[in-house]
């Protein structure tokens, strides 16, 4: 089955049903392994002590907040350029999930910042650019709710999403371009990760678990959005027949 076949919502529903049956247990198992490694195998950091364990949710959530916007940007191109039938479904379904993971990133970061930096929040470039991304997620959710017609809302959301994509490299490179309290990149960087393998392995397992959780939630939310549009179509047919 190719991507063209999945453009058919009915085929997507059938395919995604089988996909979810595999994704749910694999995601749960990865979280179990990741949390075990995080709490029972990974050592305390020599400077940060046990608070380094906050990294195992903060970093995956930050990664997902940005990855979700990247997925939404591709979906936005699908809406505006290729007019793929499921593109704005994917865009709409991803928005609240991305907002939730960005919120987790900000909250976990502030819980990490208070004991390590002495403050919950600082207006440095990294934190501020992530907060802007969170506010843009909320703006997109409001936009979807403000416009009744899904195709009109989809086009407007696609444009806003592509404009917001400018923020992604700003978030990524903010720690290099400006003097920030937030530490520079320590996983995805030239020269390789600077984290010890005993801490890096749990982190990578948790990143994979969070990523599969995102895929599971996104596919499920897309299915719900397809069903919601069917309900809308049937209600319109009912109203026309009355």
């Amino acid at each position: 089955m190719g991507l063209i076949d999945l453009a058919n919502p009915s085929r997507f529903l059938a395919f995604s049903h089988r996909l979810l049956q595999a994704l749910v247990p694999v995601t749960a198992a990865l979280f179990a392994v990741g949390l075990y490694l995080a709490f029972f195998v990974a050592p305390d950091d020599y400077q940060q002590g046990a608070t380094v364990r906050i990294m195992f949710i903060h970093v995956p959530a930050a990664w997902l907040g940005m990855m979700c916007w990247t997925v939404m940007s591709i979906a936005a191109l699908g809406t505006l350029v290729w007019r793929h039938p499921l593109a704005d479904v994917a865009l709409k379904a991803a928005t609240p999930i991305g907002a939730a993971f960005t919120f987790i990133c900000l909250f976990a970061g502030s819980m990490w910042g208070r004991p390590m930096w002495g403050t919950y929040w600082v207006w440095d470039a990294r934190l501020t650019s992530v907060l802007i991304m969170f506010l843009m997620y909320l703006g997109l959710i409001a936009l979807w709710r403000a416009v009744d017609d899904p195709s009109r809302a989809g086009r407007a959301a696609a444009i806003l999403t592509l404009v917001g994509a400018v923020n992604l490299p700003i978030i990524k490179f903010s720690v290099d371009w400006w003097n920030t309290l937030h530490q520079p990149a320590s996983v995805i960087r030239l020269g390789g990760p600077t984290i010890h393998p005993t801490i890096l392995l749990p982190l990578l397992v948790m990143v994979l678990a969070f990523t599969l959780l995102f895929v599971t939630l996104h596919v499920s939310a897309m299915r719900n959005e397809i069903l919601r549009r069917r309900v809308r179509t049937l209600r319109l047919m009912q109203a026309e027949a009355a």
């Binding site: 919502p9 009915s10 529903l13 059938a14 049903h17 709490f39 029972f40 305390d44 002590g49 046990a50 608070t51 364990r53 906050i54 949710i57 903060h58 959530a61 609240p96 999930i97 939730a100 919120f103 987790i104 909250f107 976990a108 819980m111 990490w112 208070r114 004991p115 959780l213 939630l217 499920s220 939310a221 299915r223 719900n224 397809i226 069903l227 919601r228 069917r230 309900v231 179509t233 049937l234 209600r235 047919m237 009912q238 027949a241």
Partner: protein
């Protein structure tokens, strides 16, 4: 597993993350049931799409 003097911050971060993830899971499950129920009600009232096969696939 000792979480040290900053245990409250670690527990708060994990608890909030678990709550948000749980809320997302509840949202997709409840929303799916609501849409399926509404579709069933509409079809029971005589409004039908061209194909019912797609609905079966979604179940």
């Amino acid at each position: 597993m000792a979480l040290g003097p900053h245990a409250a911050f670690i527990v708060a971060a994990y608890a909030m993350s678990a709550a948000v993830v749980a809320a997302l899971v509840v949202w997709v499950v409840v929303d799916h049931r609501a849409q399926m129920r509404t579709l069933a009600d509409l079809e029971a009232s005589g409004v039908r799409r061209r194909s019912d096969a797609s609905r079966q696939a979604a179940q």
